[in-house]
Amino acid sequence: MAQPTSATDDATFPAPVIYEFAAVARELLACQTRQALLAGPTAGTIRAALDDEIASREPRVLSFDVFDTFLLRNNKPETARYQELSTHVSDRLAASVAKAPSDIDLLFARLHGMDFSYRTRKAVEGCREGHIEQVIRYARTALNLPRESEKVFLDAELDYETANLTVNPVLAALAITFRARGGKVILVSDMYLGKAEIGTILTRLSNGVTNWYDKIYSSADHIISKRSGKLFAHIAKDLDLAPTQFLHVGDAWQGDVLRAREAGWGAIHFPISRQEVTERERALRAFVDTWKSRGHDLSQWARL
């Protein structure tokens, strides 16, 4: 609900009244980092606002986006993460193959593999998505590595993600409470990692906590995605519930909020702060420039 705040104006007219909306999202947008905000003294305000929203909507299912929402990332842009991950894979492969490819070779193989997987997997209802297994198979083939190396790739991927993610303390606590009251919690992701891989990462980060969620849905498994809007209807059908029974929380405006609401779900925007986005943009530019100076132009794959 919009709350009026005070404002000043000239004497000819009455003072205008200013209203702001969506207090949770506004606070998240304005903070320095979400990690700091959600671990600090104002985390309680965020939690209270979410509780209010749940109380007013009374959903039966609470749904969270995974990456950058339920699990918080640091400010390394995506392409830089792929390159770091490639370094990990290269180091591990050195232990098992005669001549391990370099990190930059692995990065190129991965980038081509992602494109290949995305384009060659059978489309479902007009949606396309890649899968990490296929990405790895392409990279392994392109680099002429033995089939056994695929396990090394996947283990390194999961280890790297685990080391670079933290659990969102506010949302995790909310999930536990919601389930304890009889509600269902689902995690929904547009990602090339399937539910098995996401589940492994969550287990590794859980420190023994087992009651966060009931089910994971990933576009890597279903092909249909949040960003197309179709995954929401699919989930509602799968759980045999009306769309209005769902409340989804996510950082992506289009995929987590606009599309969810168009599908009849309730949705709360949990955005990345402006400061964090700026930091990621800066890191991405620096990354591209560094590799350009080494003779490799990665600008066509530069992603936040």
């Binding site: 205008p16 200013i18 947008l29 198979r137 392109a142 909020v257 609401r261 925007h269």
Partner: protein
């Protein structure tokens, strides 16, 4: 350097690394398709022969595992077009009629049988052969003997083709076609005709035109590039400017495959033309470029170093792009003697770079450049370096990079854009405006909704229930009505941002509006501008009990190319919804003038232009909605509903501007603003005169169509003359005999009324004239040899206006522009130019 050495060096040093990068991706693609999809790689002739050869050299040098499959697919576009005949005749006709559109049907039929084991005897006077390739569908369904023979050939070839596919693919349901490119035409045809298989394509490049069939492009990989136009930021797209370079590189000696046959023993389906292509044996003398590439590939080290390959590839493409976009005369040495072959059953080779000499009367360097297979190269042939370079820049198109990196800028401390929406008691429009903003792909904004004295509760409720990003919305309730401009100023002051834009509650945007306008002002190009507009669309709509109904859309002031202060002094010519501007310019101007109940945006724009420039993005990204039908008073725009006020304030705004400019010492600007009204009047007068001239011209053109009569009689006369000169007694006798017959009967046969009723122009002039010629000479105008050009026909102008015709003359398909006009141009509605 000799031409041979130049070609070899170019191949080894530049094309070699580019091809190596391509082959590394092709190799991976084939292996993964084989393993993941059980696919069979098919190397499509003719280019597939050389691609396979290059891949074999690459694999041997790097010691990578070879593909498990890799048969040659002996086809051409002609073979595929005929091959799909039994399943998709309409698709076959579509491909063939496009390719043969300028070729007469007799020539088409000859082409179909040129390499067939047994051709039919062709009766050139068969009436079903009237027309050209564009008439192919009609011809094939005409029921004529010739059409039946052609159909029989098609059916047989199609049956063999189907067997050939089964033979090649065996139990595999998936084919990966390997070829140079570009539009995946064969792949698309195969996918449509043989949907029981999955057809994928691995091409050197994938590129098309606005009317290209892209239905299968999701399965067509361009391994070097996927783009329709050259992007200077991506030099690997430079082959788009000269596709023939890659096609020539991979084109083996040997004719295009024309037909399939079945072996008597064993029943294997073969392509009789295949041995000729397989015999391709390039040498440094015969194919220096390709041999240079092979030598480079053979020198690659063992193992796969993707990053090194890519770095060498990227550097090579920069060099190649320079040669393709700005070739010098020295660069052209590598391309000396390069010719390209035709397809579709035609014998022709066309030089890549014709000599700089006239090909026909009226030929010019500019015409040769236009017709050339490589315009940038031909420019270097025709002109000295300094002229050639400027011309090459223009030929390569707009050289601003399409793929631009996000601009370098300091981190923003405030939102990029303040979007200002003024509203008062119009929740239906407000909801649409909120959704328009929410759909933007650019999200760094604050959306200030200012309620100018209306009921605030519905505004709050609308914001809360609409699917929009409420976190970015600030509602300013003015409490009491202040007027449009005061409301704008109030809203702008209640937000901080780098840029500002007025998004009225009844207008809307395309989703990319903010991303493109902000990127422009953030970037190097926008640095010197205070603001930017996009093109706008006028949307005519009506409010009905069922909601807002859109009736039509059209460009709004589509003529806007730039923003002149002089033009603004005449009238405001862009709406607020299209105009993003810098906040600091707004601050300097002191904001909107709150005195004006209407035209406040015009006043703002005029004062803006005295201080800063406004750029134009030539894409229609803003929608300017007008309630110009039904009840225009309740929901009308001020321009529609408030016309009287507009008239009143147009003089006040202009007068005030002149006064304030004079007071500030801007006498020149004041003069411009003052005389703007005068220029508006002059322009309206000129436009009215121009309209009358156009109408007059149309009437003249209509009466000039009677020249069609004279063309028919000119042709008839030419042939009569020819019969006399050649002493063609049989034809002359026929004319005499026909002339002696009843004149009325003859005239009736060609559709004219009897002389007693006066001669009436027949309804179907072409048919009448054709019948006349056939009756008199036993043949029709479309199969006659070339006719002399009449003295009033401006041949040079016709060829200049119709470059496709000049191209057809150059390759020998037509004798002259007049020849084309008589056979096809008149029917196609092309203008008949009259010599002055």
């Amino acid at each position: 350097m000799s031409d041979l050495n130049a070609g070899y060096t170019f191949g080894r040093n530049d094309l070699g690394p580019a091809v190596a990068g391509y082959l590394s991706r092709l190799h991976a693609q084939i292996l993964v398709f084989e393993q993941e999809h059980g696919a069979r790689a098919l190397f499509v002739s003719r280019a597939g022969v050389r691609i396979r050869r290059a891949l074999d050299v690459f694999v041997r040098a790097t010691k990578l595992p070879p593909p498990a499959t890799g048969d040659f697919f002996w086809i051409s576009r002609l073979v595929v077009a005929r091959g799909v005949w039994n399943r998709k005749p309409e698709a076959a006709i579509d491909v063939l009629s496009k390719e043969y559109r300028h070729i007469n049907l007799a020539e088409f039929v000859r082409g179909m049988f040129r390499f067939a084991p047994s051709g039919a005897r062709l009766n050139p006077v068969d009436p079903s052969l009237i027309g050209n390739g564009a008439d192919l569908g009609r011809f094939l369904s005409s029921g004529s003997k010739i059409a039946e023979v052609v159909q029989t050939l098609f059916r047989h070839q199609s049956m063999l083709f189907e067997g050939y596919i089964k033979q090649l693919l065996g139990s595999s349901g998936t084919a990966l076609l390997v070829d140079t490119g570009w539009q995946a035409t064969a792949q698309t045809l195969l996918a449509k005709a043989f949907p029981e298989y999955e057809w994928w394509g691995a091409y050197f490049g994938r590129s098309g035109f606005p009317n290209s069939d892209r239905s299968e492009w999701g399965r067509a990989f361009g391994l070097v590039f996927e783009a329709d136009t050259f992007d200077p930021a991506r030099p690997e797209t430079s082959p788009i400017l000269n596709r023939h370079l890659i096609e020539y590189l991979f084109e083996p000696k040997g004719d295009s495959i024309q037909w399939l046959a079945q072996e008597e023993r064993g029943g294997q389906i073969i392509a009789p033309g295949a041995p000729g292509i397989l015999a391709d044996a390039p040498t440094r003398e015969s194919d220096p470029m390709f041999v240079g590439v092979l030598d480079y590939l053979a020198s690659l080290p063992e193992g796969i170093q993707l990053a090194d390959l890519r770095a060498a590839e990227a550097a090579a493409w920069s060099r190649i792009a320079r040669v393709l976009v700005h070739p010098t005369k020295d660069d052209l040495a590598a391309f000396a003697g390069v010719t390209r072959s035709a397809d579709f059953g035609r014998d022709a080779r066309v030089p890549l770079l014709p000599k700089p000499e006239p090909r026909f009367e009226g030929d010019t360097p500019d015409r040769r450049i236009q017709d050339s297979l490589w315009p940038c190269g031909q420019a270097a042939v025709e002109y000295p370096p300094e002229i050639a370079k400027a011309l090459q820049k223009r030929l390569a198109g707009d050289l601003k990079a399409a793929s631009v990196r996000p601009p370098e800028r300091a981190a923003r401390r405030r939102p990029a854009v303040a979007i200002i929406t003024r509203t008062m008691d119009r929740p239906m429009f407000l909801e649409r405006a909120l959704k328009s903003v929410a759909a933007q792909t650019f999200q760094d904004y604050v959306h200030v909704v200012v309620n100018d004295g209306g009921d605030n509760d519905p505004v709050r409720a609308t914001i809360e229930r609409t699917n929009c990003d409420q976190a970015r919305i600030r509602l300013v309730d003015a409490v009491k009505n202040r007027g449009m401009e005061a409301a704008s100023n109030l809203a702008i002051r209640n937000a901080d941002s780098d840029y500002v834009i007025i998004h009225d509650d009844d207008d809307s945007w395309e989703p990319e509006f903010l991303r493109k306008t902000v990127a422009f002002l953030d970037g190097k190009q926008g640095k010197h501008y205070g603001g930017v507009i996009t093109k706008s669309t006028y949307v005519s709509e009506e409010v009905t009990p069922k909601g807002i109904v859109i009736h039509s859309k059209a460009p709004y002031n589509g003529w806007v190319e730039n923003v002149h202060l002089m033009e603004m002094a005449i009238a405001n010519f862009f709406p607020p919804i299209a105009f993003l501007f810098r906040r600091d310019v707004y601050d300097k101007l002191g904001g909107y003038n709150e005195q004006y109940p209407v035209l406040g945006d015009w006043d703002f724009n005029l004062r803006f232009l005295v201080d800063a420039d406004i750029a134009v993005i030539h894409e229609p990204l803003a929608n300017y909605h007008h309630r110009d039908r039904g009840d225009t008073t309740t929901f009308g725009n001020s321009v529609i509903a408030g016309r009287a006020k507009h008239l009143e304030f147009s003089s006040i705004v202009r007068n005030n501007l002149v006064r304030s400019l004079v007071q500030r010492g801007h006498a020149a600007a004041a003069t411009l603003a003052g005389v703007g009204l005068y220029f508006e009047d002059q322009r309206n007068t000129l436009r009215a005169a121009d309209n009358r001239m156009t109408q007059l011209g149309q009437r003249i053109a209509a009466s000039a169509s009677s020249s069609a009569w004279t063309d028919h009689y000119w042709v008839a006369f030419q042939h009569l003359l020819k019969s006399v000169v050649e002493n063609d007694a049989a034809t002359l006798e026929k004319i005499r005999a026909t002339a002696l017959r009843s004149q009325a009967g003859l005239l009736a046969r060609v559709g004219m009324a009897a002389p007693a009723q006066g001669h009436v122009r027949p309804a179907d002039l072409d048919r009448a004239a054709a019948a006349l010629l056939k009756d008199q000479f036993g043949r029709d105008s479309t199969t006659l040899e070339a006719t002399a050009i009449p003295p009033d026909f401006d041949e040079v102008y016709y060829l200049r206006q119709n470059p496709d015709v000049a191209g057809a003359i150059a390759d020998g398909s037509l004798a002259s522009g007049y020849d084309h006009y008589i056979r096809y141009g008149r029917r196609e509605g092309r203008n008949r130019p009259v010599k002055q």
